[in-house]
Structures are given as structure tokens and as C-alpha cells.
């Protein structure tokens, strides 16, 4: 008799690839129920995470792409809301999507929104609080855990809002380099377009960094006024928080 580990490998191969693996297992009556449960539940998980992508692609095409994705990439953990992290990349690789890269943008925004919705709570760092610090430059900051930066191909804000209202189409804005910041405010997740300086400062603060150091790093690629404006934007949006410890 095979060991439990070998048996489970055979079972998993038969789940993923149908006839492959232990044919005795995969062809037993009833095995298809497990195969269908795995596949169907994961396609459904993607459909729930990406409702707007589904609207834009249409039900049939979405399910076809989702089914391919499920075959190629299983979740790494049981919290299904985090499944689909690579779905936008999978869409982006499809030749047929080259003229519809705004759909990839929407897909990325949807996944980021979900991550932001369930991210840790933290008090945002305000300009007032920063002003009260003895040495604001020494305050150790980092990006707020309930915020994300998403890099887009198009200005899709109008389309996003239309989809949020339940409409299925809207004009897509200009193509280009479109960084978006998502931030959770109460029960709502807001999406804001940001400029390259703000993006750079946000990226610099991905790990806890003394503010003065982060501003100096950003100032190597932008003038002081742009860096100050970027800091003002991040503070105003609530995208920064005070880190608990200064890195060694």
C-alpha cells in the first residue's frame, strides 16, 4: 500500500490534470465531485473578488479565463479572499487583452481594494501630529497598512466609478503611466490618482524610515517643492502612519 503522502500526491495530480496520476483514483465514480468542487469553488472565489473585471469581460470569457487560471495556479492558503493576486498578470499576458489593458487596471484595483479592506487598522499620521513632534524629521514613518499603490496603464477612475454604480461601461481615459493610491477610510476604500513624486515617496516609506531620510531619498529624483507636495498629499490622504520602532 502506498504511503499517505504518496496517495495524496496521486489524488492531487488526478484533481488537477484529470486522467494523469493514479488512474484508479481519478476514474472512480464520485471522484469528479471533488474535482468539480475544487475548480468551481475557486472560479467562484475569483468571480467574487473581481466583479467589475467580470462585468467588463462578460460572464463567459471571465469564466474561461478564470478556469485556466485555476488550472495553472492554486491558492497558497485557505483564506480565499487573497486568491487572485496573480490574476491581473495572467490577464495581462493574454494576447487578446493587449487592446484592453484598462481591464487589467480594473482587475488590479479590485484586488488591491480587497486587500485594503481587510488590512490592519492603524492611526493615520496627520500633518498636525507631525508638527507637534520635537523633531519631525526624526519621526519614523511608514505607509498605512490599509493603503496600496497600484500602477495602471490608463486613467480608469471614471470607469471605476461607473462600475461601482452598477453601470457596465464608461469612457476610458488617457493611456500612460497612472499610479493610484487606495486608502481605507471607515467602511469605504477611496482611490486617488497620484503624481510620480508622491508615488516615489510612498514607495520609499514601504518600510519604516525616519521621515528626514525618506524625504532626502525622494529629493534625489525631484525638487524640494515636489517632495514637500508629495508629503502633503500622503498626509492629507491618510496614507502614512507612525512606525512603532526606528529601524536599526
Amino acid at each position: 500500500m502506498t504511503s499517505l503522502a504518496e496517495w495524496q500526491r496521486d489524488f492531487a495530480r488526478a484533481l488537477q490534470f484529470g486522467e494523469a496520476g493514479d488512474s484508479r483514483l481519478g476514474h472512480q465514480p464520485g471522484f469528479d465531485v471533488y474535482r468539480n468542487n475544487v475548480r468551481h469553488s475557486l472560479i467562484e472565489a475569483l468571480a467574487q473578488t473581481f466583479p467589475h473585471t467580470r462585468t467588463l469581460l462578460g460572464e463567459r470569457f471571465f469564466r474561461s479565463v478564470a478556469s485556466d487560471h485555476v488550472r495553472q495556479r492554486l491558492p497558497e492558503e485557505p483564506r480565499l479572499r487573497y486568491y487572485g493576486q496573480a490574476f491581473a498578470e495572467a490577464l495581462e499576458r493574454l494576447t487578446v487583452m493587449q487592446d484592453y489593458r484598462y481591464v487589467v487596471d480594473i482587475c488590479r484595483l479590485e484586488h488591491a481594494r480587497l486587500s485594503v479592506s481587510h488590512a490592519a487598522d492603524a492611526a493615520p499620521l496627520s500633518a498636525d501630529l507631525l508638527g507637534q513632534a520635537e523633531d519631525p524629521q526624526a519621526v519614523c514613518c511608514m505607509t498605512h497598512p490599509a493603503s496600496r499603490l497600484v500602477e495602471g496603464f490608463h486613467d480608469v477612475l471614471g470607469l471605476w466609478h461607473a462600475l461601482e454604480r452598477g453601470e457596465d461601461h464608461a469612457p476610458v481615459g488617457a493611456a500612460g503611466d497612472w499610479p493610484w493610491l487606495l486608502i481605507r477610510l471607515g467602511r469605504r476604500v477611496e482611490i486617488h490618482p497620484v503624481n510620480p513624486s508622491t508615488r516615489r515617496l510612498y514607495q520609499t516609506l514601504a518600510t519604516p524610515t525616519p521621515l528626514g531620510e525618506a524625504l532626502a531619498t525622494s529629493a534625489r529624483q525631484a525638487d524640494q517643492a515636489q517632495v514637500s507636495e508629495a508629503l502633503g498629499t500622503l498626509l492629507a490622504l491618510g496614507c502614512l502612519t507612525q512606525a512603532q520602532e526606528t529601524p536599526a
Binding site: 465531485v33 471533488y34 491558492p75 485557505p78 479572499r81
Partner: protein, 291 residues
Amino acid sequence: MLMDAHRLPRAAQGIGLKPQHMTELIAERADIDFLELHAENHMSAGGPMRDDLAAIAARYPLSVHGVGLSLGSAEPLDDQHLARLVHLVDELNPVRVSEHLAWSRLEGDFYNDLLPLPLSEESLEVVARHVDTTQQALGRQLLVENPSLYMALDNTLSEADFLTELVRRTGCGLLLDINNAYISAENLGRDLSDYLSALPLSAVGEFHLAGHSLDTEATPPLRIDDHGSPVCEAVWQRYAQLTDTLPAVPTLIEWDTRIPSLPRWLEEAALARRYHASAATAPLACLESAS
């Protein structure tokens, strides 16, 4: 035995906790003894859903039902996932914590289903080790749920013997899903009465009831545990018999697909009260107030 700190009213009735009912359940205390949540849906670091769960926890006793720990995987438990479960249980102090006799994880991939495992001395050692680890991490008893099966496996131990020995070795309890037991018996052609009478019933800490569907296109037709319909009559009858033996055990009505309105789900829980063996001897007024 279950710890006193985690007691519910005698013959308590519960329903599942679903996002679409959160607002209603928070706004007005529903007539239900407890709510059961799927652990993995509530393992968030923060955000509004956690706030809602805190509001629910302040109003209702909760039970935590895990679906992703993969007690039956030959490989070690996922430490990170176990830590998340411990964190959730520490926060909620639920009346019950349960998981499944199943596996779903292999070499970094998660198969989102409760997959069956062949019952043998080797798998018993694996599951007992994982139950031990989980109970030590939780600092409390775990209930292990019997599976619904769609295919026969090369078992060297019967499911009832396996569960009996698991209880003896680990001190875990059982979550007896009567619908699962019925489905497995029908699909595999085993005798449900024999199965139930061979279980260590004194270890049962919770009943599950749910609806299932019949796939008539399968050869032979299969009963599918889809939790998408009312409990069937055959399962109600078994429930009535089992509650005669175990009158105090709490009951959870599951519904995970085609989820009904909250009032409809509560009706099903009220129906469970009527089928409960104690209903036969209860004064009429009690029955009416339960419906």
C-alpha cells in the same frame, strides 16, 4: 468532556453567520442561541468586517468552524494558519471550535475542498498528531467533523473505529454532521444505523444539519453535500433519534449556497427545535414559542 466555560443552553440551536445577514443580526437580536462562523472568512488583520464581528460577538455566543487546517494532510500543519486560528479563537472565546476529518493542503497548494483520506493506522497517527498540536495551540478541545464521501477508499479502519480511536488518543470531541453521515451512507451503500451506533456518541459536542442535492446524471446517482437547501426528511428523522440519546447537544443548521433570508433560516432552526426529541415531551407552549 467540554469545558464548563464553553457551555450553551441545553439543546441550543444555531445558524451560520454570513456577510449578508450581519447588519440585520447586529441591529436586532435574533431568536437564536448561537452563530457559527467559518474561521477562514474572519481571519483579517483589521477593517470593517472585524468591527462587525466584534459587534456580533458582543450579542451572540459564537462557534468557530475551520475549513482549512487540513488535519488529514500527511505533511505538517501550516504553522501560520494555526496561529491565525489561535488568534481568532483567543479573541472570540467561542462556545465550540471544530474542524474536519479531511485534507486540503499539499506542498504549498491549497485545494479548496474537504478531500477524503484513506483510513488506516498511518492516517490515524497523522490526524491524531495534528489534532494534538491544534488542541495544545488552542488550549482547548477541538471537535472533529465526520466527512461526506463520494467514493470508496482503501480503508483498513472503518470510519467509526477511526473516530473512536482518535477521540481516545487525543481527547478531541466529535462534530456529528448527520447530513454528512446520511450522504456517505447513501453514496457508499453503508448502513447508517450501524455507522451511528459504532460512533463514540458520548464525545459528540455538536450536531450539524444541512440540505444536500441529488446528482442524477452521475452513475450511480450521488448525493452532493452542497448546503443549499432545507434539511431533508430522512436527516430530520435521524436527528430526532440522535437527540433522544443526546438531548443536550447543540445543533447548527448550515446553509452555504443559495443562502436564504435570515427569517427563513431561523424557521429552519425552529424546525430543528420541533424535531428535537425533547419536543415530544415538552409542553405545547414551549413548542409554540420556539416556532
